[in-house]
Amino acid sequence: MSQTLKPIAEGLWTSEAQPRLIGGRLPSGKIVFPMPTGDAAKELEPYPLSRQGKLWSWTRQDFKPKEPYDGPDQFTPYLLGYVELPGEIIVETRIVDAALEDLCLGMPMEFVVVPFDARRATYAFRPEKQS
């Protein structure tokens, strides 16, 4: 289970039962992601981002990237894209539980924490489950 895996980075998402990505909010109300570090973080307060959004764009990574990519040795093409979190920000993300041909502009998406390799977890979005 992804809960037992170590997050790829600290402070990237909350440790709630329903985890959320951690962005930052400027005094102006503007949201940024990821939460900056160092002096750039001074004026920001952490701001957990929405778990739901709409697909803004997408592609599939069909070749194994060079370093700094640190994925499993056995490369499998993966989907990625941008998801617009209404009123907040558009975040870049892995896309899981979907095939390339399923994806379309504006598709409802939801946040999920997924295995990255045998040791670590990363974040992703997947098409929202129709109940």
Partner: protein, 381 residues
């Protein structure tokens, strides 16, 4: 400010030249440019140059001669060439010098660029998880654009088909044989919707341009092309750029639009006045989107433009007449100057098999790069 002209243009063939360093290719291009302008190294009064991955430019004085000239290294990513050109032009316009050199060169390893997150102020996880690839950015940008403005995969293919058709006629190009539309569209996918023929590859090459004041042009009787304007701009708020873990929901401006507007305004002409254009085509989608961002057509019109061949060498607005990045490859430090080199060739009427007919009088070049900057140069004959 006084007018500045290009009086010498030299190039080292793009592609792969094993056994010759990037800087040596730069030296080669400088000598070609000097021969073109009938000048000696001792005539060059100041120099600006650089590369992204092949070292400092000023060391070239070891080969070219220790004349004591000021040689300023430029390190500005994809805008290295454009910034060198802008600086050299300003040095002459400011009346400090009469003859200046702008040189750009590079030599990259094979395969896609692998940028380091820290160099772009980004966290390590962004690179580790495989989201920090230039190819992905281009795919993500054109994917959305295609949905919004009805651009087809066939149109993406036509851009690449044209590039290789033009590259076949270009001495300095790397890819010098035609590739048919069917092959382009059915080639292995790199990042959907872009196949391997729709992407340029990191490469090697060098370009040198010699600039001069009007006084020198007359004195030398040079075959000169006027630099009507040069503009380099960085990104405004809310833009969508390469290496962006997030994008502002308030859709903002684009660095290309800023640079384009500034260059047109300074030149006192508009897109409708341009006879030939070199637009950054790191992949097929980039050329399509840059046609609109630079003001040459409306979003979505590209579908018809490509179908009708309007950007062919014989078309209404020839685009990337030497095959662009797609056929020449991309040595980052040299790429922007290659566009200006090609425009100089076209305005002088020296294009040979790829010469734009009807003696073009105005030429436009546009470069784009990380982390969201753009350089535009307009030349006039």
């Amino acid at each position: 400010m006084r007018d500045v002209y290009i009086i010498g243009a030299g190039i080292h063939t793009f592609g792969r030249t094993d056994g010759r360093s990037g800087r040596d290719q730069g030296v080669y291009a400088v000598r070609e440019a000097m021969a073109d302008a009938s000048l000696e190294w001792s005539d060059i009064e100041c120099a600006y140059g650089g590369s992204a991955a092949a070292g400092n430019a000023d060391i070239m004085v070891n080969e070219l001669g220790l004349t004591g000239l000021p040689f300023i290294n430029v390190s500005n990513g994809c805008a290295t060439g454009g910034s060198a050109l802008a600086s050299a032009r300003n040095a002459i316009a400011a009346e400090e010098f009469d003859i200046a050199l702008a040189v750009g060169f590079d030599k990259h390893p094979r395969g896609a660029f692998n940028a380091k997150p820290a160099e772009f102020g980004l966290p390590e996880w962004y690179g580790q998880t495989g989201m920090m690839l230039t190819t992905q950015f281009f795919a993500l940008k054109i994917q959305r654009y295609m949905q919004l403005y009805g651009i087809s995969r066939t149109t993406l293919g036509r851009v690449a088909e044209k590039a290789f058709r033009n590259g076949e006629k270009t001495d300095h190009a790397w890819r010098r044989s035609k590739v048919d539309l069917e092959t382009i569209l059915n080639a292995p996918m790199v990042n959907d919707p872009l196949t391997k023929y729709m992407f340029c590859s990191p490469a090697e090459g060098a370009v040198a341009l010699i600039l001069a004041s009007e006084k020198k042009v007359k004195e030398l009787g040079a075959d000169a092309v006027k630099i009507a304007s040069v503009a380099v701009r960085t990104r405004p708020p809310g833009s969508f750029e390469v290496f962006a873990p997030a994008i502002d929901i308030d859709n903002g401006g684009k660095p290309t639009v800023l640079a384009s507007n500034a260059a047109f305004q300074a030149a006192g002409i508009g897109p409708e006045d341009i006879d030939v254009a070199q637009l950054q085509d790191t992949e097929s989608g980039a050329e399509i989107m840059h046609m609109a961002e630079n003001g040459f057509c409306k979003d979505g019109d590209q579908e018809q433009w490509l179908a009708e061949g309007r950007t062919d060498i014989n078309g209404k607005l020839p685009v990337n007449t030497d095959g662009g990045c797609l056929a020449c490859g991309e040595p980052i430090g040299a790429s922007g100057l290659r566009q200006v080199y090609e425009n100089t060739v076209q305005l002088r009427g020296r294009g040979g098999a790829r010469q734009v007919p009807g003696s073009p009088k105005t030429a436009y070049s546009h470069v784009y790069g990380a982390p969201g900057l753009s350089g535009v140069a307009i030349l006039e004959r």
